[in-house]
């Protein structure tokens, strides 16, 4: 408890708990994880909300993200500058969204962001191709990728603009049986 006081004030912790799906302990653990990433950069005392950001390269190296084919996109889509530099707030946010408790809708929003490589608010074919190639480590032949992308867009595209808007995506993802269980990082 004493340790906690030095990192966050009670108010801060309460706020974090309200804003995330984490418990107080988990938030403290998140902080320690965050601190571990760059001990010299991240202060232990967060009571005065220091402005400190960690670059993408450091965060992506976490074991939780290391194997994820979309790790860069995850970090980027949670960073406010879009470059992947995460402050602690954003760091907590990221794992909150990816936590078990986050509702499907919230996850869907961020999933959409993650898969939207070119940040145009649409999942176009290039996005899909990138997603697929990352997913399969480019094991599929270009023809297969092409086919899958076409089929996927065909399936989910409701308005016929041959790209997936968020509405399309949401419609599709909310019907997916295992989206909730897979879009989830335990930390």
């Amino acid at each position: 408890m004493g340790n906690k006081q030095t990192i966050f004030t009670d108010e801060q912790l309460d706020a974090y708990q309200d804003c995330t799906f984490f418990t107080r302990k988990e938030i403290l653990r998140l902080h320690s994880r965050y601190h571990e990433l760059a001990p010299h950069l991240v202060p232990m005392d967060y009571t005065n909300e220091p402005d400190c950001k960690l670059p993408l390269a450091l965060i992506v190296d976490m074991p939780e993200l290391k194997e994820n084919p979309f790790r860069n996109r995850i970090v980027e889509s949670f960073s406010e500058d879009g470059m992947g530099n995460l402050s602690f707030n954003e760091f907590v946010d990221m794992f909150s969204v990816l936590s078990e408790m986050a509702p499907r809708e919230l996850k869907a929003i961020y999933a959409f962001k993650i898969y939207d490589y070119n940040v145009d608010n649409y999942l176009c074919k290039e996005d899909l191709e990138k997603t697929l190639n990352k997913l399969t480590k480019e094991e599929l032949t270009p023809e297969e990728v092409e086919l899958v992308c076409e089929k996927a867009i065909e399936e989910a595209d409701l308005d016929g603009d041959s790209k997936l808007s968020y509405a399309d995506f949401e419609n599709m993802i909310t019907r997916a049986p295992d989206f909730l269980s897979t879009f989830h990082i335990r930390i």
Partner: protein
């Protein structure tokens, strides 16, 4: 950083947004809208929510607090960046605290409690999960080989569970009591190894053939004592034995059926969501939990597999080859399979027969000869499936179908094997159980000491049967010979020896149990051997010798072994079938099977992970799980049959087993009922089992089955209905999205004027779409009905019209329409036409009717396109004149009324027509909504109407070219109608279509000569005013002229048509689209394509009930435009007559769809 300022700036907006949020209760909605807000202007909104509270009035204070609380509760699920969330939260908290300091604390307790509960659940769940065996192993396999291979292991695990239960049942109720309370080994005859066998009882040879000590153990039926009650508690072992034997089957049935029901429920749930296979495989494939490189690799491989699977499935849909070749190949394949099945059955028979002969002839059997039967059976079960697979390649079925076929064939094979084996066994049982029947009667009398007298009789009988008995006993033969020599040694009398031998060996239940257990053991050995040899050694060879071989071992010939799910699953089923078959005779068989399954689990999973490659075409086995289960059920039933048959048919062995001395095994029940239950119970039982009760019960059962089946059928029906409804619902969803998209598209493209209109139109269209599923049906119904109404109304109106002054009738009509100006004009014109007037009146009334109709059925198709109605007007208007013309043709009136269908046709278009005709109506519509914009939006309409209503004045006032054109067009239409009249006065549809066609050709009219135009204008006036009322008379003299003109026009002006107009010409289906296009086109000819596309899509979708069509339209709308153009051109090239015909057919189509 700059958020503070942003916050202030955005406060007001966010307030609005917040309110909007509040109205939307649903969480998801809120999130979605939040997301939009976020996208559009997240920075503006930041923190705005809090400010609002301060600025609010005291009355709203409470609401605000509630709202703030809601924010606090839901803030974690908002897609905002944390910084913003924190800020919003802080402010919301402050506000809440300010007014309701207490509340947060109690809420804190609540949430703490909830959290605790949740955690408890999670912990419990984790504990439960850890007790599921091999979960990790299966997960690993799953991630490596996909769900198909894993399904095998899951199935195995499930069977393992069943066998554990069976083991517990038999163990606790039969084996344990016998061991604890039963007579110990060696005390009774059935529990003693005969002396002559004692020497060899521990030989490996004997043990291997399950003789010796094993034979006289709890493993087999013969060991169990027949004492009614054992132990101090009086445990009824024989009864328990029988009941447990039955319970094994009962339990298996119940558990199987339950599992199947559950599976089918699951598959039903997932079946409806099949639509997004690829999307899900792309977007939901990755398991974000994976943090281990190996697992990640596995998952990657699994995903690739999965996607490939989907691709293959997709490609399979498209594949097709020549039918004849395929059929002949399949026939050939089936013949081959049948041959091999027959061959395998013959081999088994042959082997059993040979073993019998061998037993007869040879004193000593070799190991091979003793195990011949089981080895051959196991070999067949191993080899035949591969042969079937080869054969299946001939057939070129869809992989999934071929899998099914393969499974079915292998199942038949296994069943054939088991059955031929069991029949051979039962053959022997038959002889065995009949032999002691005669001898045993003596035996019981003489007890264990045998008098030579009594022995004589049995000797004869035994000797008679000796051949058959001896022949069949493969295992016992050893004994026999050993013993016989011994017995002869010290008991000289052959008869006694024979009797003693037969008495002890004739325990056919034990024999069957032995055979089954032996089969099971040998099957296990073969499985292990095949795994080691075929998979492991092959894997090793391929792996390590591929370098020093001239071809690529890994990809060419031997390759790595594939894990064949189907065969392996079937093998499990087969194995389980053996267990069920033998469980009654060998109570420890389930326990043995448990061990076997555990071993198999480890060995298989090891083999799969080390030396197998994933099957190239892995299919989701979870779906076919029920297929496996169905086969298992089938197997259970078929395996139960021989057991039941043996129980019912044969007399239990006389000197061994719990039922010794009874006539039939099931007598134990009646005996127990008779002796151990009170008298009344046995009486009741006798009543219950008498035909008086049984027959009605059977009848009742049949009735019940029939009733349930009927219910199931009706449920299926409703199910289908619901599914259809769901589909339409989904299409509605799509429609909505289209509309949204359309609105979005239009807003940027359309001029400022159009925007409001669009929005307005969206609103009704939304409503319409919401109700469409029902409304469509309703609409169709009303359509059907409306014709009748129509006719009635027409009649009445006509009467009134005829009776009263025509002018009055018109007046009334015109009164309805705001534009009263028309009246004088009409008055002028109708006068000459009086005699015909009533016809005109009819048409007018029809029109009015149609108005009503419209009002009734907005959803029937027009509602969505309300804003576009002006477009329709033209087409409809043209129709109208046609109708009028038809009426003028006069005789038609009666005829027309008769066939309702025609009316339907009319009605369909009438709404539109009505819109067109009654200028007031549409304008009114729009006036109410956006009065100022009517002119701009529907310049055409207004012009139209103006000319119509005030034929002379308005044209002058608006003498723009467009106006003239319009007039011309209208005139054209009219002419057309007249032409149509002249051509085919009677057939309404034709007219209607003609009109349509002409509308399309309006362009031509454009270029008509001036004088023609004048006439047209006149026509227009008339049309506008009464639309047809005066028309017939007025125009009647001129139709021929008009038609001539028109034709000329056609020829001359076909070419210059531009696309928008052409679309009008395009057949009825696209009419709506075209019509919608028109107004916009007026304003902006070229730019509207996209807009019109979307809009037209919406409208067209409404028009056409079938969702698929709609979808197609959506996708190809642009193409269709092109297509329509082309079509139009064609049409224009043809002569008018031909056109009529074409249109006619099309109109028919339309009717069909709508009605």
């Amino acid at each position: 950083m700059s958020s503070a300022s942003e916050l202030v700036v955005g406060s007001s907006r966010s307030l609005l947004a917040a309110k909007r949020h509040r109205t939307v209760r649903k969480n998801s909605r809120r999130i979605y809208s939040a997301y939009r807000d976020h996208q559009q202007g997240s920075s503006d909104e930041e923190g705005g929510d809090d400010k609002e509270v301060d600025s609010n009035d005291p009355e709203e204070m409470f609401q605000n607090i509630q709202y703030q609380k809601e924010i606090i509760a839901n803030i974690r699920s908002r897609p905002w960046p944390m910084r913003r969330k924190l800020k919003v939260l802080k402010q919301a908290r402050e506000i809440v605290l300010k007014y309701e300091g207490q509340l947060t604390r109690t809420r804190g307790y609540q949430t703490a409690g909830a959290d605790l509960l949740k955690k408890l659940y999670r912990v419990l769940y984790n504990i439960v999960v850890t007790f599921i065996p091999w979960e990790v192993r299966i997960k690993k396999i799953e991630s490596h080989f996909g769900s198909g291979v894993a399904s095998y292991f899951i199935f195995l695990r499930w069977l393992f569970g069943i066998n554990i239960v069976l083991t517990i049942m038999t163990g606790s109720f039969v084996v344990l009591p016998e061991l604890l309370a039963g007579a110990p080994f060696g005390t009774t005859r059935s529990k003693t190894i005969p002396k002559e066998h004692l020497a060899s009882a521990q030989d490996l040879d004997t043990i291997w053939s399950l003789g010796g000590y094993l034979q006289y153990s709890v493993l087999f039926y013969g060991y169990y004592g027949s004492v009614r009650k054992i132990g101090s508690a009086g445990y009824r072992l024989p009864l328990a034995y029988f009941l447990v034997g039955m319970a094994v089957f009962a339990y298996s049935f119940i558990i199987l059926l339950r599992k199947m029901a559950k599976n089918s429920r699951l598959s039903l749930v997932s079946a409806s969501d099949e639509n997004f296979t690829f999307c899900w495989r792309v977007f939901c494939a990755w398991d974000y939990l994976i943090g281990n490189p190996e697992a990640a690799e596995c998952k990657g491989a699994a995903i690739v597999n999965n996607i490939r699977e989907a691709i293959v499935e997709e490609q399979e849909k498209k594949k097709d080859t020549s039918l004849a070749v395929l059929i002949s190949l399949r026939i050939l394949a089936n013949i081959l399979v049948l041959l091999s099945l027959a061959g395998s059955i013959y081999i088994i028979y042959f082997v059993v027969d040979r073993s019998q002969k061998l037993e007869q002839e040879k004193p000593e059997l070799t190991l091979w000869e003793k195990n011949e039967v089981s080895v051959v059976v196991s070999l067949i079960t191993m080899i035949a499936p591969s042969a079937f697979e080869l054969v299946a390649q001939l057939e070129m079925y869809h992989p999934r179908t071929s899998l099914r076929f393969q499974l079915a064939r292998v199942l038949v094979l296994y069943l054939g094997n088991l059955y031929s084996l069991i029949i051979a066994l039962l053959d022997k049982v038959n002889s065995m159980s009949s032999t002691p029947h005669e001898s045993s009667s003596n035996w019981t009398n003489t007890s264990s000491t045998i008098s030579s007298l009594s022995a004589q009789v049995p000797r004869i009988s035994v000797s008679e049967h000796r051949n058959s008995t001896m022949a069949t006993i493969s295992t016992a033969i050893n004994f026999v010979h050993n013993r016989s020599s011994l017995v002869i040694a010290y008991n000289q009398t052959i008869p006694f020896e024979k009797n003693a031998r037969s008495q002890q060996d004739q325990c056919w239940e034990t024999y069957v149990g032995q055979e089954m257990l032996k089969l099971s053991i040998i099957d296990m050995i073969f499985t292990v051997a095949s795994i080691l040899l075929i998979d492991f050694i092959r894997g090793l060879v391929v792996r390590y010798l591929s370098d020093c071989c001239c071809w690529d071992l890994e990809s060419k010939f031997p390759e790595y072994g594939e894990f064949k799910i189907a065969e392996n699953v079937l093998h499990l089923i087969y194995n389980q079938g053996m267990i069920w078959m033998g469980a009654f005779f060998s109570p420890c068989l389930p326990a043995f099977n448990v061990l076997k399954l555990i071993g198999l689990m480890y060995l298989r999973s090891w083999a799969v992970l080390t030396c197998n490659v994933p099957h190239q075409q892995v299919f989701r086995a979870s779906r076919s799980n029920n297929f496996y289960l169905a086969m298992l059920l089938f197997m259970l039933f078929l395996c139960m049959l021989p057991t039941i048959f043996a129980i019912v048919r044969y007399r239990p062995s006389e000197h061994c087993g719990p039922f010794s001395g009874q006539e039939k095994i099931y007598d134990i029940i009646s005996d127990t009922v008779a002796s151990d239950f009170p008298l009344w119970f046995s009486k009741v039982m006798s009543y219950v089992t008498s035909p008086v009760v049984v027959l009605p019960a059977v009848l009742l059962l049949f009735m019940l089955i029939y009733y349930l089946q009927a219910i199931a059928r009706s449920l299926k029906f409703t199910n289908n209905q619901l599914r259809i409804q769901l589909q339409t619902e989904r299409t509605e969803d799509k429609k909505k999205v289209f509309q949204m998209a359309a609105a979005r598209l239009q807003t940027p493209e359309a001029s400022a004027d159009k925007n409001p209109d669009q929005q307005e139109s969206d609103i009704p269209s939304h409503e319409a779409s919401i109700h469409t599923s029902s409304s469509q049906q309703n609409g169709s119904v009303t359509n059907v009905q409306s014709p009748i109404n129509h006719s009635d109304s027409i009649r009445t109106i006509t009467q009134s019209a005829s009776g009263a002054d025509l002018n009055e009738g018109h007046v009334s009509e015109s009164v309805r329409r705001p534009a009263v100006i028309v009246l004088p004009k009409h008055q002028v014109e109708p006068l000459p036409n009086r005699p015909r007037h009533f016809i005109g009146g009819q048409s007018g009334s029809c029109r009015s009717k149609s108005c009503h109709h419209m009002a009734y059925n907005p959803p029937s198709g027009l509602s969505n396109a309300i804003h576009t109605d002006p477009l329709y007007r033209k087409t409809i208007r043209s129709l109208h004149p046609v109708e009028a013309a038809g009426i003028i043709a006069a005789q038609n009136y009666g005829g027309r009324r008769g066939p309702t269908t025609r009316y339907v046709i009319v009605n369909e278009h009438r709404p539109r027509r009505k819109l067109l005709c009654s200028a007031t109506r549409i304008p009114r519509h729009y006036l109410m909504e956006e009065p100022t914009e009517i002119l701009e939006l529907y310049p055409r309409n207004i012009k139209h109407y103006t000319p119509r209503t005030n034929p002379q004045h308005p044209p002058r006032s608006h003498t723009s070219q467009q106006l003239r054109k319009e007039e011309e067009e209208t005139g054209k239409d009219r002419k057309r109608t007249s032409l149509g009249k002249s051509l085919r006065p009677c057939s309404l549809p034709d007219h209607h279509q003609q009109a349509h066609f002409y509308i399309g050709e309006r362009l031509d009219s454009f270029r008509e000569s001036q004088r023609a135009r004048n006439e047209i204008q006149k026509d227009d006036e008339e049309e506008a005013g009464k639309e047809g009322v005066d028309w017939g008379d007025f125009n009647l003299p001129s139709p021929s002229q008009a038609s001539i003109k028109e034709k000329v026009c056609f020829h001359t002006q076909r070419h210059p048509v531009h696309s928008p107009r052409r679309q009008h010409q395009s057949p009825t289906r696209s009419r709506h689209m075209g019509s919608q296009l028109k107004p916009k086109l007026r304003g902006q000819l070229e730019t509207h394509l996209t807009e019109s596309d979307s809009a037209s899509i919406a409208s067209s979708s409404d028009q056409q009930n079938s969702s698929t069509d709609q979808y197609i339209q959506v996708i190809h709308s642009k193409e269709r435009h092109l297509g329509s153009d082309v079509r139009q051109e064609k049409v224009s090239k043809k002569k008018t007559k031909a056109n009529f015909d074409i249109n006619y057919t099309e109109s028919n189509d339309l009717i069909c769809s709508n009605v």
